[in-house]
């Protein structure tokens, strides 16, 4: 099932990872090493590229550059939920996934998987989380280009966020 945002005429593939979506919402960075031994840190947000006219370039890593570590900042607090939705109970990529960090006052962070060629998050949009979570989804998916086969993902993303918020309330 293909991506609905961040796509281009050259590529509509969805980023299939779960881990990267969770890392994105936690503001993780990766440490890398190049062939010459030099190292750097890249924020998860900057690691994956959108396809544009160069769909063969999926990350900002240089040729020969390896990820050697994933660095997580201090835990942001709140309740953490990762909700992965798929038809088969296991061994399937997410149709939609939601990584949610929810604070007691209803504010928090959201990243989506399964909808874009990279983990999909908008720090500005998620300010609406405490007032109306659907506004967060609407803003994340406002430029969605869907086909009849994947139009359901916009509805599913909303409902999955609702489910994740409900789960966070129970867990809390």
């Amino acid at each position: 099932m293909h991506a609905i945002v961040g796509t281009s005429d050259a590529c509509i593939a969805a980023h299939p990872s779960d881990m990267a979506v969770a890392m994105r919402v936690l503001d993780a960075e990766v440490e890398t090493m190049r062939a010459d031994g030099s190292t750097r840190r890249i924020a998860l947000a900057d690691l994956h590229r959108l396809p544009g006219a160069t769909p063969h370039l999926e990350t900002t890593l240089d040729a020969g550059e390896l990820i050697t570590a994933v660095v997580l900042p201090s835990p942001p607090g709140g309740t953490h939920v990762y909700r992965k939705v798929r038809d088969r109970a296991s061994y399937a990529f997410a149709l939609v996934s939601v990584a949610l960090v929810r604070q007691a006052d209803g504010s928090g962070r959201v990243a989506l998987g399964g909808v874009a060629p990279k983990p999909w998050r908008d720090e500005d949009a998620e300010k609406a989380l405490s007032s109306d979570p659907h506004v967060v989804i609407d803003r994340l998916l406002k430029d969605a280009r869907t086909s009849p086969d994947n139009a359901f993902k916009t509805v599913l993303a909303r409902r999955t966020l609702d489910a994740a918020i409900a789960e966070a309330r129970i867990v809390r």
């Binding site: 939705v85 038809d87 359901f152 609702d162």
Partner: protein
């Protein structure tokens, strides 16, 4: 031996060995990895070379040219087989498309070359160096668009009609007219199609993974243009077939051609991503069902029409078969139409006809019960028939559908079902119960065997019957042990070799009953030979390793003291299956949970109640039924070959994209076999059961999803995208 009168009491009825849930006698070979499959005959084949199949990159058209130079120059390459250099090839009677394409291409991934090299990796590398210049032409790939062009199939029985369907339907106070679709599906068996071939002079010796040894011999011989006697085909172990290995495929023919070209034994296995488009599949269907009933719930009119597609010269999916037999109704019609599609060859997959037919019919019955306000179990019971409804003079040999439904309802706790859809909630889950009938015809077919009584008293059975994971080895051993009155461990079973008598083979759930009946026939002859040898009357009693008559009591082994005794016979059938409709019956009950937010469906529990004649081995039979139920879960929830309607192939051609159920999808499955015998089927009084288990499962799940959600989906598989728009709104609870 001819079976033309109903079975009476016979040695099988003793049930000292038959009917017991004994472990598979070949189980230890499999669990220790010492059962040799077609690709693994390292013991018999020295220094095999490896063949790698190249599939066509277009769906229809022709090959203008093939540049083999780079491939030939690649390391380790021994030979390259193409249609250009293979010499004249025929086409097997059971094949629709040729197994080695070129210059004409009939479907995507049709084999167009085999590269033979010292290693698998070298063969694969070289195959990628072949440059092919194609001349593609437009094809037809979309059943929905080809439906209008579909025509009446030339063979078989496409149409039936009884009474006045049109008038009766129009006059019926309650009517249903609905259209259902089932997608293309793949067998996706564990073991890929694989063969090892060598030439011994002008004789082809081939191990291949094939359900039907004699068909395989005939089609290999015909394809290669050699006499059948020059083909020695062996298929002793098969890692699943489901109909995908009924017919010889490209691996067998190309291994033979590769071995001839390389002058070496050659092994060929189809890579998984090639299998989905290179081999056969269950074709998609469009099915229209109309049912008319009285307000009291008596069906007065029923019609089932089905459309499917296949390559030119192919056959329809016989999805209306069960509707001719399953429910009463005085006015009825069925029709099948076949469109030409340029996808890979459509053919049999587990319960061809009934499996997709029941997917549609048993939703329709559920919908009709809902319209009538009648419980779906009761609606089915009310419309039972004990005779073939199209030919009321023909009774069913045995039909206990009503028992299956009633016993199943009781055991499942059906009466706890909320009569209102979307009315039961358990936390985040919408809970639904679903039911469907199970129905699959019982086929009997000629089957032979040879039985030996050795000096040591060991009974050896030889037949070209196959064991595709079904338990053939075990039930054949049980049959021979029962007949000869020896313990199970004194029986040796040898299967899957064209040197042995021709059997029924494995397919259409005919193998269990038919192959054991053939063993029954051969053992009957061997009993006569033993009795004669011992000077005992022909009705002597065989039990406990002894032969007894009157005051005489002799060890059975004594008959072979001066030399092995051998008997060979086959069972053939009279017209009992014409005079009596022989079918198998069941009922499937399912509880599903649908996530109220996301529409994800998870099966909570399943029960199958089966009435399928004598169950020869409850353990292997149960394994068959739970395997079939699992396949039904896939059909209901995920299995769907997605057609690229422009390029003309199945896009999701691997096990990541073609989603069969995984362990996490399958809950505990309950199976109940009704205690019954069917004396019309064979002296075994057994019937098939391996395909009954899938028939109706998907509809029971679809009906349960409707009961859980209130959403009726008529297009399989029932994935969440088809539900999500119509699920109940979520309660937006306030912050607590």
């Amino acid at each position: 031996m001819k079976f033309d009168r109903p079975a009476t009491k016979n040695p099988i009825d003793r049930l000292a060995v038959v009917g017991h849930p004994v472990d598979r006698i070949d189980g230890p070979l499999k669990t220790t990895g010492t059962a040799r499959y077609a690709y693994e005959h390292h013991d018999a084949v020295a220094r095999p070379a490896y063949g790698y199949v190249l599939g066509a990159g277009i769906a229809k058209g022709s090959i203008h040219s093939m540049d083999l130079a780079a491939a030939k120059a690649a390391p380790g390459v021994l030979a390259i087989v193409t249609a250009d250099n293979a010499g004249p090839l025929g086409k097997g009677d059971k094949n629709t498309a040729t197994l080695l394409g070129g210059p004409t291409i009939e479907h995507y991934h049709q084999a167009i070359a085999l590269v033979v090299a010292e290693t698998f990796e070298q063969a694969r590398w070289a195959a990628r160096r072949i440059r092919v210049d194609y001349g593609p032409v437009d094809g037809t790939f979309d059943l929905a668009r080809a439906k209008e062009s579909a025509s009446k199939p030339a063979s078989g029985k496409p149409d039936t009609a009884v009474g006045e369907f049109g008038n009766a339907f129009a006059a019926a106070p309650v009517q249903l007219d609905a259209t259902y679709t089932t997608p293309d599906q793949s067998h996706a068996m564990m073991e890929p199609h694989a063969s090892t071939a060598l030439w011994d002079g002008d004789t082809l010796v081939i191990w291949t993974s094939n359900q039907m040894v004699a068909w395989g011999v005939a089609d290999v011989a015909k394809t290669l243009g050699i006499p059948k006697e020059k083909v020695h085909l062996m298929s002793p172990f098969i890692g699943g077939g489901f109909g995908g290995k009924l017919f010889v495929r490209a691996d067998a023919v190309l291994a033979a051609l590769g071995a001839r070209a390389a002058k070496r034994p050659v092994k060929v296995a189809l890579p998984r991503p090639l299998m989905f488009n290179n081999t056969t599949h269950r074709p998609a269907t469009i099915q229209r069902i109309r049912i008319g009933a009285t307000r009291e719930g008596r069906i007065t009119a029923i019609a089932h029409e089905s459309w499917s597609g296949d390559l030119p010269g192919g056959k329809p999916e016989t999805a209306v078969d069960q509707t001719r037999l399953l429910y009463a109704g005085a006015n009825r019609m069925t029709a099948m139409r076949l469109a030409v599609l340029d996808l890979a060859e459509a053919n049999a997959m587990r319960a061809p006809g009934e499996a997709p037919g029941m997917m549609a019919l048993e939703i329709a019955i559920d919908e009709m019960a809902e319209k009538l306000g009648i419980d779906p179990v009761q609606f089915r019971i009310a419309n039972d028939t004990q005779v073939d409804p199209e030919h009321p003079e023909r009774p069913f040999s045995k039909r206990r559908l009503v028992d299956c439904l009633a016993i199943g309802a009781e055991k499942f706790g059906w009466k706890a079902r909320n009569p209102h859809p979307a009315g039961t909630r358990d936390g985040r889950w919408l809970v639904g119960f679903g039911v469907a009938a199970a129905f699959r015809n019982n086929l009997v077919t000629r089957s032979g065997a040879r039985v030996r009584l050795g000096k040591d008293g060991v009974v050896t059975v030889e037949t070209d019957m196959t064991d595709i994971g079904t338990g053939s080895y075990t039930i054949i051993a049980q049959t021979a042990a029962e007949m000869m009155g020896v313990p199970l461990h004194r029986v040796v079973v040898r299967l899957g070799d064209s040197d042995y008598p021709v059997s029924s083979g494995s397919g259409g759930q005919w193998g269990g009953n038919s192959s054991t009946a053939g063993v029954y026939a051969a053992c009957t002859k061997l009993r006569e030979a033993v009795a004669t040898k011992l000077g005992l009357p022909p009705d002597a009693d065989f039990a406990d390793g002894r032969v007894r008559a009157g005051s005489r009591d002799v060890a059975v082994a004594d008959a072979a003291r001066n030399g092995e005794l051998v008997a060979e016979d086959h069972m053939e059938y009279g017209d009992l299956d014409k005079r009596y409709q022989q079918s198998t019956f069941g009922a499937h009950f399912v509880e599903v949970r649908v996530d109220a937010a996301t529409g994800e469906t998870r099966v909570k529990r399943m029960l199958a109640v089966c009435a399928a004649g004598r169950i020869l081995n409850p353990k292997t039979a149960r394994s068959q039924v739970i395997g079939a139920m699992t396949m039904g879960v896939g059909a209901a929830l995920s299995e769907h070959l997605v057609v690229d309607r422009y390029a003309g192939f199945f896009v999701n051609h691997d096990l990541a994209g073609y989603e069969v159920p995984v362990h996490a999808d399958i809950p505990h499955l309950d199976v109940v076999f009704l205690d019954e015998t069917d004396p019309m089927s064979s002296p075994m009084k057994a019937k098939g059961v391996a395909e009954l288990g899938i028939c109706g499962v998907a509809a029971a799940i679809a009906n349960a999803i409707h009961h859980a959600t209130g959403v009726r989906v008529r297009d399989y598989p029932v994935t969440l995208d088809k539900l999500i728009d119509r699920l109940p709104l979520l309660a937006r609870e306030e912050e607590s």
